[in-house]
Amino acid sequence: MKANDEWPELIARYRARHRLTQAAFADSINVTQQTVSRWESGKQTPDPVAQQLLRSVMGLTALSSKSAWQQRVNLAWGTEALFEKGWRFLAVSPKLQQASGKPDDDVIGKVLFDLPAFKSEAPMLGKLPIFDGAIRVVKARADLYLFGNNFSADIDMWPVLTCGDEIILHIVAYHSPLAKVESGFTGVRLRDFYAIMTDGRIVSSGNTAAAV
């Protein structure tokens, strides 16, 4: 895990979640309050032994950090993207970069709905409580006309919980070459959309507004 730049946030979140003061947290792991303060402010990085202890205490492992998920999407063979709260791009897979014609640096940190092709979907997607932990999965079929390519794709949107208790969104698209988009359409259009909530309810495009 590239945790060195994540430790301040991880420690602060853990303390807030367990309602621990810096002194109480420090006491629980046998360091001084000043040490925790330096870790949390980013002035000092926990040494490897302390990192191991923190991982053990805080339940962290390398596989469920935000950076590990970014690495997964960056390496993925398929068409995938990763977003954080506010629909900001965290990562796009090489195949998606190729399909969109945009290099990685062009979109990372950008908000999805600021891209002209996705503006029309902001009213529907943007208000879904995906990053609040209320949704298990969103499924949709999308018609896409991007940079001269038109195709349909089945899309799965999976909220993922990181070890820092942050929900990020892992999107996987499966091209449907047989379902061609009609000519003349440009942009992105979601259809056959439904969400499965964590409480088991199913919300479809027909009743999104009422249910969420």
Binding site: H18, L63, S67, Q71, L75, A76, D156
Partner: protein
């Protein structure tokens, strides 16, 4: 207990019961995850004992994590996935399979083959290969046994990937196969296995077998 304490205890008890039901967990396992004694947790679930504030926070936190990262939630993810996906345990047995794996639309003569989910669940991965006599991941000709040997289930590997043609006799599948280790809260690391089929490539094998085009093991970052 005061009325407020009784209500709080009942709420925590109901939450514990729901966690056990939703994620198929025993009291012992929940207690282990909470770092508490099973008898104490059983008392909380039954509403017999007041739950300390710090324990309530731990239970709520565990509930949030289980909802997205329990073995059961990963099984659900794979079962509901659109793609060709399976979930595989450390013992290399299939834990979950997506609907797309159960249907083969590209059999000779335009036939569609369907397979019952039971023909996958609980089976060892190697039993689903046409042959073990191939250099699937390393060069041992040992099927998927190499996955454990290379460290997929202990966090040393970020991804194992290979490109192969698998001829099962009634049908063949050509594609890139990926194994991503994923961490579950209650069952440690399991493997999320995906296939990206190359529908445009023509099969070369005429009999059941495996041809591996390439394979790679991507180590985990420190």
């Amino acid at each position: 207990m005061t009325r407020a304490n009784l209500e709080a205890a009942a709420r925590v008890g109901a939450l514990l019961a729901q966690l056990r039901s939703d994620h198929v967990l025993t009291i012992d396992r929940i207690a282990g995850l909470l770092g508490e004694q099973p008898g104490i947790v059983a008392g909380w679930e039954a509403g017999r004992a007041q739950v300390p504030e710090h324990a309530t926070a731990k239970i709520e936190h565990l509930a949030g994590r289980l909802n997205f990262a329990s073995l059961q939630s990963w099984k659900e993810r794979v079962t509901r996935a659109h793609g060709l996906e399976t979930l595989i345990g450390r013992d290399l047995r299939i834990l979950a399979v997506s609907a797309a794996v159960l249907v083969e639309t590209d059999a000779p003569g335009g036939r569609q083959l369907t397979f019952p989910r039971e023909s996958f669940l609980g089976k060892h991965c190697n039993d689903l290969l046409p042959t073990l006599d191939c250099n699937l991941i390393l060069s041992h000709g040992a099927g998927f046994n190499d996955l454990d040997a290379v460290g997929l289930f202990d966090g040393r590997v970020r991804c194992v990937r290979y490109s192969a043609e698998l001829n099962y006799g009634p049908f063949a599948r050509i594609g890139v196969y990926e194994f991503w280790p994923v961490e579950t809260v209650d069952a440690g690391i399991v493997a999320h296995h995906l296939c990206h089929p190359h529908a445009e490539q023509k099969p070369t094998l005429r009999v059941p077998g495996v041809v591996v085009h390439w394979s790679e093991i991507i180590p985990a970052e420190d």
